[in-house]
Subunit: 375 residues, 2 copies
Amino acid sequence: MTLDFQLLARDGSARYGRLATPHGEIETPVFMPVGSLGAVKGVPAPALREAGAAIMLSNLYHLSLRPGIEVIEKLGGIHAFTGWSGPILTDSGGFQVFSLARLRRIDEDGVTFQNHVDGGEMRLTPESVVEAQRRLGVDIAMVLDECPPWPVSRADAEASLDRTQAWARRSRKAWSGAPAGLFGIVQGSVFPQLRRRAIEELAALDFPGYAIGGVSVGEPAEDRHQVVEWSAPELPEDKPRYLMGVGTPWDIAHAVAQGVDMFDCVIPSRNARHGQLFTRQGVLRIKNARFKDDPAPLDEGCECACCATSSRAFLHHLFRCREVTGPVLATAHNIRFYLDFVRDLREAIPSGSMAEKLRSVQSVYASSRAVEPSS
Amino acid sequence: MTLDFQLLARDGSARYGRLATPHGEIETPVFMPVGSLGAVKGVPAPALREAGAAIMLSNLYHLSLRPGIEVIEKLGGIHAFTGWSGPILTDSGGFQVFSLARLRRIDEDGVTFQNHVDGGEMRLTPESVVEAQRRLGVDIAMVLDECPPWPVSRADAEASLDRTQAWARRSRKAWSGAPAGLFGIVQGSVFPQLRRRAIEELAALDFPGYAIGGVSVGEPAEDRHQVVEWSAPELPEDKPRYLMGVGTPWDIAHAVAQGVDMFDCVIPSRNARHGQLFTRQGVLRIKNARFKDDPAPLDEGCECACCATSSRAFLHHLFRCREVTGPVLATAHNIRFYLDFVRDLREAIPSGSMAEKLRSVQSVYASSRAVEPSS
């Protein structure tokens, strides 16, 4: 089988749907926690399931480096290897090649680079990336794309897009007959005509799903939102739409309202490690001295194990002492927050309350200072 | 109430019992996971409960430094603060003062030192330690003792013991009427006459329980075992006996056979962080290359979440990539192993199979190289 996507309800442009994959069904909009190396940092697979995750994201570039595709294949594929039995989407590594690797040489056929772990030379081509994801046994694979930096000139963006589109055609051909789904990736930076061209050409290739890529590369939120507003309505109605690497709660709510169905982002896990905790009332910086003797749970409305047993004062204490249990509790909480948050957005669609929901998210999370980037 | 201890069965010198505390009953022999700062590193309270822990150990010295007794008292005591609702035993800090702190000055009245966090001056007296544990609301408190290094001369050990015994008398008086239990601590290093004298004097003070201290300070296992063999049979029959900071599975099995009831040790958690994993077949050093493509679970006989979902190959991968999920899974597993291990010893007592159990533990774990110290 390939993927089966059904749209079940709409509210404005927002869509409520169901995506069937070889390892189970997902209700959309959906948030995919990031386990680049096969596990969300500090949240083992059983805890991830318990938090309500329906699908995990992993990363071909990272897994190719360590432990290597061959090892995972020998162990029975990515589900057996990671212990995550639900659906898995892998990113192709395009983003990582352009953000982590060094000494890149791009040619028409693919990209050669030094990896960020031991500096060894690696080469990715559209066909090798498709083949590797097939060997991993993922439910949703992504094509190899070129992810230009921000800002980039229109000429450079266009040259890059030419390559990405050629690679997409080769990827589609190479994937043909595979037992899962391959998504095309829309590039084109902040140039609406390039984005439109990318969408038209990719739609003609009839991918099982489409991603909006090339965002979350340092651009202002307004630019990111504009890209979503141009792109989402143009994408094929009957296929899932995935916004890559986005974002804050406000970014996600905005994109859901524009008709995006799938999200992944490291913000909940990365920011948790730095003590930036999401609540229904906004972000708490738990290391702040004012939490030293605060007996309240992190988030009154949350049912995670952290909120059930730990006060803000206890979390503050663990973070101040650099005890690993602090980040462990905080990451589990933030992941749960994101999953609950997107579930609430999803439930707003059939009930027709998306506009109201959007306003309430905006009032709490739209300030540019509400969520600070953590590194 | 104070503590209520009932002996329910014996097998040789080994004892199966039940200890009632203000926060619940404990079956003994029991292993107490170590959460010095209020949480076992990487294992939040709900996961600790799920692993089968009945009582948690914490530490007065560490908690006095951060966040401070006043904060914990204000937040409703140590159970409310840590989110661990079961029984809690706190060590007095005597061991930490002599292992972590700097520039100690001991006088008859107490000990003054620079703490290991910010170098600030702190002072502990027998009365202040008892009072602080009372304010924390612990179920079992420990007296302030002086923990001599190993090796130590007999003259120095005796002078130190004089002080520890004087402090024990003052502690007993200060604790009188408290709503939980205070344990006396037997010192005397590796000198049997000093150990015997300590036991006689402490027994006369009628503590609710007795600890064997001054071990796990670098001495060879044979010396440690000798101290247990001299001390355990001399301790009052009708009170729980706690061997502090011990040890390997073989140390624990040996001590249970000598009639010890309670244990704490950082070995399962600390060694887990270094990839040293306990199994029913012995210790695995998971970073070893031979586990790179081993599809077996860590320990076939274990029912923990780690063993249910993670192969040795996956754990190897996480450790090699320094992913925090590796230590998190490993620590949960090792804690579960120790809890299961001591439960199996406990169950061997009423069934009369302690000797057989002891032989099987010895064959797997008695080699001095079976468990390497991790730092």
